[in-house]
Symmetry: C2
Subunit: 111 residues, 2 copies
DNA sequence: CGTGCGCATCGATGGTTGTCTATATAGCCA
DNA sequence: TGGCTATATAGACAACCATCGATGCGCACG
């Protein structure tokens, strides 16, 4: 169990850090963020670069170099996997909203 | 950043391990599982107990002792937090399917 | 060219984690 | 009480991780 090659576990480990979770949330909000805007007074530049590498190797993000700066964004493939993974954990009585090939019809409560 | 008191990060760290993710998935499927049924030939009993403790301290699960055995189940508060957390990460254009108070009916595809 | 800036990489380091064996605790049964 | 089973705890150890300072690399602008 030492070598974690499971993509789901990799994804979770990528998000399981306060700095990286903040980065993911910022990317979710803005869509595309320059690495220069991800800086934080509490962490050094190499540390930020390290976290970006972890997120990249976990499949979470991609970086797009434009001249001097690098713009990071979430990978749609990772988001799809994330939705499926997160939807697979929950209370059995309350089915998860998994977007599969079936269609979902919304029914108002009876009372 | 060394002490992670953020409940979201705690939740993610709890799930970010292959053994623990398997436990969470089993609890999601079955609803309530005896610790004796969570055993796996690859891991020793103390290791399993350790993972259960991590999940408990992360808020994921609770254990209910019934005589000799202890039955574990997911905590609804953790699931609520998990849904909110996982729904907060994604592509801005594609809103997350957050389950509300309405009920969901599954409809088979027409073709 | 060279200088400056943004970002990545290297190497080191202290804290954290997953795992084990050994032992303790808790409940059942005779 | 004593033995048996299920689970937790203690202690130890190797692997891993987050962090930093120093350094390298790529790109823009003189």
């Amino acid at each position: 169990m030492r070598r974690h090659t499971d993509p789901d576990v990799l994804l979770l480990q990528g998000a399981a850090d306060p700095t990286r979770l903040a980065i993911l949330r910022q990317l979710s909000d803005v869509g595309e963020v320059c690495a220069c805007d991800l800086g934080h007074p509490d962490i050094s530049q190499p540390t930020l670069s390290h976290h970006l590498r972890v997120l990249r190797e976990a499949g979470w993000i991609t970086g797009d170099r434009r001249g001097t700066w690098i713009w990071y964004s979430l990978r749609p493939e990772a988001v799809v996997r994330w939705r499926r993974l997160s939807g697979g954990i929950g209370i059995p009585g309350a089915p998860s909203p998994e977007p599969d090939r079936r269609r979902l019809a919304v029914v108002q409560p009876t009372g």
